[in-house]
């Protein structure tokens, strides 16, 4: 490819081939008047590709680096030095402070409260929404009932409607059934708004399974739930993992639903983090802020680095809606 780019205007195959053989001959006797000898590894093209990727990677990693180093410095060092420099004196005090002492304006017991709230929100929300969505997907893929596809289409279109449009009706709905402001209410909200993507994921997966399996199970007399629990569930562990990754990172990172549908004592970690960092009272402690930010990002980052390819598969599935 490198060679070809040096040749200008050689649209005919024959021409290209003769030029290529010319090149080969020239490089053999070492008297080639034009064109450098193409090197194996460090050609200009490779330097450009790796150079660009390296620079871009540095840019992408920079914020993570800044978070880490800032959270390990003391405040005097932050005031003097530059934010990219590694800490001269490593201190874990900001981490301790962010976890257990930082103030949100309401209370001063740090991010730990938000962390446990987020755990209490994320675990049931993820499990419940995945169970509901997988049953939906299974019913749509294998039990094609009348009107199923129509409801599913509405569901997928619903995924594009800005949440702001459905926010207030949802508040009224939750108030009517007495769940507004409670943990159960937020779990319901996450189940409802996570449903389009996860249902799509499961529907596509179950459709791709051979139909004979389903038919054989029916001939053997298994019913709806029997087939779901004994045939489908054991076969779809990978897709359940993908759904888990999507839902856990999505729900953990949620901010809007957390502020709208819960009371302050139930605020998830993201909301609490924002309240800590952007609170107006007191002196800004940048190291504590960065430790808190990093702490909040740690769960999705851990899932991302641990899951690798599955994460990509999950977002690709979620991305190609419809």
């Amino acid at each position: 490819m490198g060679k070809c780019r040096d040749i200008e205007h050689a649209p005919l195959r024959a021409q290209a081939e003769t030029v290529l053989t010319d090149y080969a001959a020239q490089s053999r006797d070492g008297t080639g008047p034009r064109g450098r000898k193409p090197k194996k590894r460090l050609s200009g093209r490779n330097i450009m590709i790796y150079g660009t990727l390296f620079v871009v990677s540095v840019y992408y990693l920079l914020p993570l680096w800044v978070m880490v180093v800032t959270s390990l410095k003391g405040m005097p060092e932050i005031r003097l030095g530059n934010i990219f420099a590694p800490p001269v004196e490593i201190t874990f005090e900001p981490w301790v402070k962010a976890w257990s002492e930082a103030c949100t304006g309401l209370n001063c017991d740090g991010l730990s409260r938000g962390f446990w709230n987020s755990v209490r929100i994320t675990v049931p929300s993820a499990l419940f929404s995945i169970f509901i969505a997988s049953v939906n997907g299974y019913a749509l893929a294998n039990w094609r009932f009348k009107g199923g596809e129509a409801f599913f289409t509405i569901l997928i279109f619903g995924a594009f409607v800005p949440y702001q449009v459905m926010l207030y009706p949802m508040v009224i709905l939750l108030r009517e059934i007495g769940l507004y402001g409670s943990l159960a209410g937020l779990v319901l909200v996450h189940t409802v708004f996570g449903m389009p993507i996860v249902t799509l994921l499961f529907r596509n997966y179950f459709t791709s399974l051979p139909e004979e399996l389903f038919k054989a199970a029916r001939v053997d007399g298994a019913g709806f739930w029997g087939i779901y629990f004994r045939v489908m569930l054991p076969m779809s562990l990978p897709i359940f993992t993908v759904a888990m990754i999507i839902q856990i990172t999505g729900i953990w990172n949620d901010f809007l639903f957390g502020t709208v549908f819960t009371r302050p004592n139930l605020y998830p970690m993201t909301v609490q983090l924002n309240n800590i960092v952007n609170s107006v009272q007191g002196v800004k402690e940048y190291n504590v802020n960065m430790a808190a930010t990093l702490l909040t990002g740690l769960v999705p980052l851990a899932i991302y680095f641990a899951s690798g390819k599955l994460f990509v598969r999950g977002i690709a599935a979620g991305a190609v809606k419809g």
């Binding site: 070809c4 780019r5 040749i7 050689a10 195959r13 990727l53 871009v56 990677s57 920079l62 914020p63 800044v66 800032t70 005031r79 530059n82 934010i83 509901i132 939906n136 019913a139 749509l140 039990w143 009932f145 599913f152 279109f157 619903g158 594009f160 409607v161 800005p162 949440y163 702001q164 449009v165 926010l167 207030y168 009706p169 709905l173 449903m195 019913g223 709806f224 739930w225 990172n253 901010f255 809007l256 993201t270 983090l273 924002n274 940048y286 802020n289 960065m290 930010t293 909040t296 990002g297 999705p300 980052l301 991302y304 690798g308 990509v312 977002i315 690709a316 991305a319 190609v320 419809g322």
Partner: protein, 312 residues
């Protein structure tokens, strides 16, 4: 199963239709019961909620929703409000830049990763990790990096360029670009992954043919590969656009809409009027405008995507 269609047909040659009707309803009954949550979500929340909000955007609801219709008054007030106009301008600037840069950067990065390079998965992991982080975390990190006292500006000044000024988060004229930098950092990885998948789906013969014909690589990309990847670009476009309209958390975390109202966005306007300003009518009207913006992009796309399939 009482609802097996085969048995029903064998039972009698011409069963009276009155006897068949309840059977048809009962067919796959468990499946229908199991799908009730989906049906409720689709009909009550998604469809019902949207219709409800649009309907109530024509009322003069204040603290509580009231069915007192006032025509387009809320919309007139909305467009007469300076903050809303600024929000729309910001969204237009952010949206346009974010669209162009995401597509270009995403495609270029994907093309670079597609050169059969070493350490591809390492590079990909690095480029995608911001996508795992929440907008709140993204906003707060970039708020810190762009802090004029300690961040990029102070470092470049310390290097000797005393007059250097780069304080997007404190300068109302360019504040929205500070948000853009953070938004691109978080989101381009996703577009890159989509584009990479698209590039991998392209037949290798195309490359061989263009190489034999001596067409430079960049020309092949622009004139052959990009047109071939039209579906991927459209998917990316729809994704980016629906993401842009939802832009909210990032602004709240990074600038809180400031300085002044320089970085206000529509989603924040909706939230503030609905839950802070006790002015529901404005909130409903503003969210209906957001819905309209999404519909303009999504409906043509859906007609292209699904309308074509049905015919073919």
């Amino acid at each position: 199963m009482p609802s097996d269609p085969v048995h029903a047909r064998q039972g009698g040659t011409a069963p009276p239709s009155a006897a068949r009707r309840p059977r048809r309803l009962l067919r796959n009954l468990t499946a229908k019961i199991a799908a009730i949550p989906m049906v409720l979500t689709a009909m009550v929340v998604f469809l019902g909620g949207t219709v409800w909000t649009v309907t109530y955007s024509f009322t003069n609801s204040k603290l509580l929703p009231r069915a007192e219709f006032v025509g387009l008054a809320q919309y007139e007030r909305l467009w007469a409000t300076r903050r809303w106009v600024v929000s729309i301008e910001n969204l237009a600037i952010y949206g346009l830049c974010s669209l162009v840069f995401s597509l270009v950067i995403g495609f270029v990065l994907a093309a670079l990763l597609d050169q059969k390079i070493r350490y591809e998965s390492a590079f990909r992991t690095i480029l995608l990790y911001p996508f795992a982080l929440s907008f709140i975390v993204t906003g707060l990190v970039w708020q810190w990096i762009l802090n004029p006292e300690f961040g990029v500006q102070s470092i470049i000044r310390a290097m000797g360029f005393e007059g250097f000024a780069f304080d997007p988060l404190y300068n109302p004229d360019i504040a929205i670009f500070g948000i853009l930098i953070a938004g691109l950092w978080q989101g381009t990885g996703l577009i890159m992954v989509l584009m990479l998948a698209g590039l991998r789906g392209i037949d290798g013969e195309i490359w061989k043919a263009s190489r034999v014909d001596g067409i430079p690589a960049w020309k092949t990309y622009i004139f052959i590969i990009v047109p071939m990847m039209r579906p991927v670009f459209i998917t990316a476009l729809v994704l980016i656009t629906s993401g842009i309209v939802k832009l909210y958390d990032l602004v709240v975390a990074q600038t809180g809409g400031g300085p002044g109202i320089a970085t206000e966005v529509p989603a924040k306007y909706v939230y503030d009027y609905m839950f802070g300003g006790q002015n529901l009518g404005q909130g409903f009207a503003a969210s209906t405008m957001m819905l309209l913006a999404v519909a303009i992009v999504v409906i043509p796309w859906a007609m292209l995507e699904f309308g074509g399939k049905r015919r073919g």
